[in-house]
């Protein structure tokens, strides 16, 4: 008797989605899908709005990483106001934005690791769900929980100092930034009272990495074999191949590490990437045009970034990067749980970049905005914590937006997440008649590794209980469990 399992909604992720798993008469998985069931309308909302409003408007599609949308939109509008891309801004404009961005990375990665992912590692996939959550972490691993909260706070304070507010600020404006960093603010971030200073943040980032590596040493089989499948990977890289989360060129490698997208200018993204629509999800499926719909999908995010870049331009993170790359002999890493490892290396890198930026006197200068000959179209791409984020706008002669297109990182990870779900579903559900909570959690862990933001890939509100339903091949419900 065939049956269909529905996990709805998936928990401890940002946003709202569900999973369906179809089993055949022998209880083997025949199909699994991650559905994103809300609708995002921001490409429509921006039409007719004045272009300078867009960075403030589009960031409202998410409360988790609005900075990424704020900056991607601002970068697209830099092109439109004639300031050029990336290094076209004044040094203060670009570096303030970078500080905002790396502050965002720092807090987002800390949030994901400590609050969303660590419960699975600390309590196990089959751990008691009553304690397998952030409250459980706070009760049983107080030091770790406090670090998570304080690291997030530090990153949020950086965002406030650069954007004006911790959530939904207005710092980035077309052509630059609306404030610099005062010497007092700089000193607070550099030498603030313990623990809120950059040296402690770097030390704690290293501590988080050591914690993960310790866990990995004890659970190598699980970490190396959970949701492993070959994939292409895409991200921004600096022109010299360095990891750069704010600006660069588009590069993609195939599952063997061969470059399949060779350092393409961001303004040309639409020449190399297209999007497919499928009837069962509001998320679109991007793919590389040169490879086609079927095989042109790719992964973005921490795993992809470390697979694509040649090196990390900060010493502590570079050292960790070298050890990490050695695990796969320099070849692309396809192990989904290594996403956490890569994310923690980026956490450390972000802290190092923040320190370097704080020591740069350009942040106290007053030349904030640059403009030139106006253009009708602009593309802004940044690496958001979850992966490459594309913003593309056209404006008319009256300064109104006529077209907006967003490809958010979770959209790019649509196919990889579906594959990860399929991988785990097959290993967890094949041949099983009864659904256990641990089985459901394994599916969620696969999704969670991507740190997906479904509210950003579409748009979501509300709480996320979890329901799994077993349905036979004729649609009759034979078992239901609810968290």
């Amino acid at each position: 008797m065939g049956r269909k399992i529905t996990i709805e909604p998936v928990t401890r992720i940002e946003g709202h989605g569900k999973v369906t798993i179809q089993l055949d008469d022998s209880n083997n998985v025949t199909q699994s899908r991650l559905h994103v069931v809300e609708f995002r309308g921001f490409e429509k909302f921006v039409q007719g709005r004045p272009y300078w409003e867009v960075p403030a408007l589009v960031q409202r599609l998410c409360g988790i990483c609005p900075v990424s949308h704020h900056l991607a939109a601002a970068k697209a509008l830099d092109v439109i106001v004639g300031a050029g891309t990336g290094h076209g801004l004044t040094p203060t404009g670009e570096k303030m934005r970078r500080l905002m961005h790396y502050g965002q990375f720092f807090q987002s990665h800390a949030l994901h690791f400590f609050h969303l992912a660590s419960p699975d590692l600390l309590f196990g996939a089959d751990g008691d769900p009553a304690i397998r959550n952030v409250i459980g972490v706070a009760l049983e691993h107080k030091d770790l929980a406090v670090q998570g909260v304080m690291m997030r706070k530090y990153g949020q304070e950086i965002i406030q100092a650069t954007a004006g507010k911790k959530v939904h600020g207005t710092g980035a404006i077309p052509g630059g930034i609306n404030k610099n960093l005062s010497a007092a603010e700089r000193d607070t971030f550099l030498k603030g009272a313990d623990p809120l200073n950059i040296d402690k943040m770097i030390a704690w980032s290293q501590g988080a990495l050591e914690f993960f590596k310790g866990y990995y040493a004890k659970n190598k089989d699980f970490i190396d074999n959970f949701a492993v499948f070959p994939s292409s990977h895409l991200s921004l890289v600096r022109k010299d191949g360095a990891l750069d989360l704010y600006h660069g060129v588009l590069r993609a490698v195939d599952s063997e590490g061969k470059k399949i997208l060779n350092d393409v200018d961001c303004q040309d993204y639409a020449k190399v990437i297209a999007e497919e629509v499928k009837s069962w999800s509001y998320m679109k499926f991007p793919y590389l045009r040169s490879i086609g719909k079927e095989k042109g999908w790719y992964t973005v995010g921490p795993l992809a970034r470390l697979n694509v870049c040649d090196f990390i331009p900060t010493p502590l993170a570079q050292k960790e990067f070298e050890a990490y790359k050695a695990l796969t002999n320099g070849k692309p890493n396809h192990m989904s749980m290594h996403m956490h490892y890569a994310r923690l290396i980026e956490l450390l890198h972000s802290a190092e970049v923040i320190k370097d930026l704080l020591k740069d006197s350009d942040l106290q200068k007053k030349d904030l905005v640059k403009k030139g000959k106006k253009q009708k179209e602009g593309v802004g791409i940044v690496e958001a914590p979850r992966g490459t984020l594309f913003h593309h706008y056209r404006v008319n002669a009256d300064d109104q937006v006529t077209m907006g297109n967003l490809i958010v990182s979770t959209t790019s990870n649509n196919e990889p997440m579906n594959r990860a779900v399929n991988f785990v579903a097959k290993s967890a559900f094949n041949g099983k008649k009864e659904v256990t909570e641990g089985m459901m959690n394994r599916v969620e862990m696969a999704i969670r590794a991507y740190d997906p933001c479904l509210s950003c890939a579409t748009h979501a509100l509300g709480q996320m209980p979890l329901e799994v339903t077993l349905v036979d091949s004729k649609g009759a419900v034979i078992d239901t469990r609810r968290k």
């Binding site: 007719g48 409003e53 004006g164 109104q400």
Partner: protein
């Protein structure tokens, strides 16, 4: 002529002959909220947010001249509630999206919403369909946010005295319009003045939005009215 003596909420105040209640209250450092009123402009009395009670009757403080022995009620629960209702009505009869509006922090309507602790609108949203006017070189007119205070109609004129803004339609359909030719000829100074006297985010000088960082905007640290009350 000697000063006119009157009281506001029992406090003895004085006024010059011809001064309105709002003007005289300001001199005595008593805050009466205004929205359509703008110092230096002839009062219009369109928004009624300044409503006070005089001799048991509701009066617009911005248009009512002070008279000898006048007893004005201003800061009473009844009037505060009435003002709050007026603010709520202004919000629901337009399309006010404060979170992404570039006037946020500098908007008098928003500041009044905070002052009167508007939490949720008690009236149904009307969601009016209003178009924006963008095809002038300096001004972007977002009529979704207009509260029809008529400050722009009264204040923004060309050097030869022609009105740049006007009202078209009547009653509930009344809407602010702009003479595009005259607007195109506005000096930079006049365009900025037009934006700054608009109490909401309806009249905007193009391409300068969000230049003032959060924390340095007009009402970020000083709530509306605090300039008089010293709070």
């Amino acid at each position: 002529m000697s000063d006119i003596k009157f009281t506001i909420d029992g406090k003895a105040c004085t006024a010059k002959n011809g001064q309105t209640i709002v003007e005289a209250a300001k001199k005595s450092r008593i805050y009466i909220p205004v929205l359509c009123h703008f110092d230096g402009l002839k009062p219009a009395g369109t928004c009624r947010i300044c409503t006070v009670k005089v001799g048991g009757r509701f009066m617009a403080a911005c248009t009512t001249p002070v008279t000898e022995g006048m007893v004005v009620e201003n800061d009473t629960p009844e009037l505060q509630e009435m003002r709050k209702q007026i603010i709520e009505m202004l919000f629901v009869e337009g399309n006010h999206m404060c979170p992404m509006c570039e006037k946020s922090g500098n908007c008098e309507l928003q500041a009044l919403g905070y002052r009167y602790k508007m939490m949720v609108p008690r009236f149904p949203y009307l969601w009016p369909k209003r178009s924006v006017i963008a095809d002038t070189p300096k001004i972007y007119l977002d009529r979704n946010r207009c509260v029809q205070c008529l400050r722009c109609v009264r204040d923004v004129k060309t050097s030869d005295g022609k009105n740049v803004f006007g009202v078209t339609m009547r009653g509930g359909k009344a809407i602010i319009s702009i003479d595009k030719k005259l607007a195109a000829a506005l000096s930079e100074e006049a365009a900025l003045k037009a934006m700054n006297q608009c109490p909401v985010g309806c009249i905007l000088r193009k391409e300068i939005g969000y230049k003032i960082p959060i924390g340095q905007r007009k009402f970020d640290t000083k709530p509306i009215g605090s300039e008089l009350e010293g709070k």
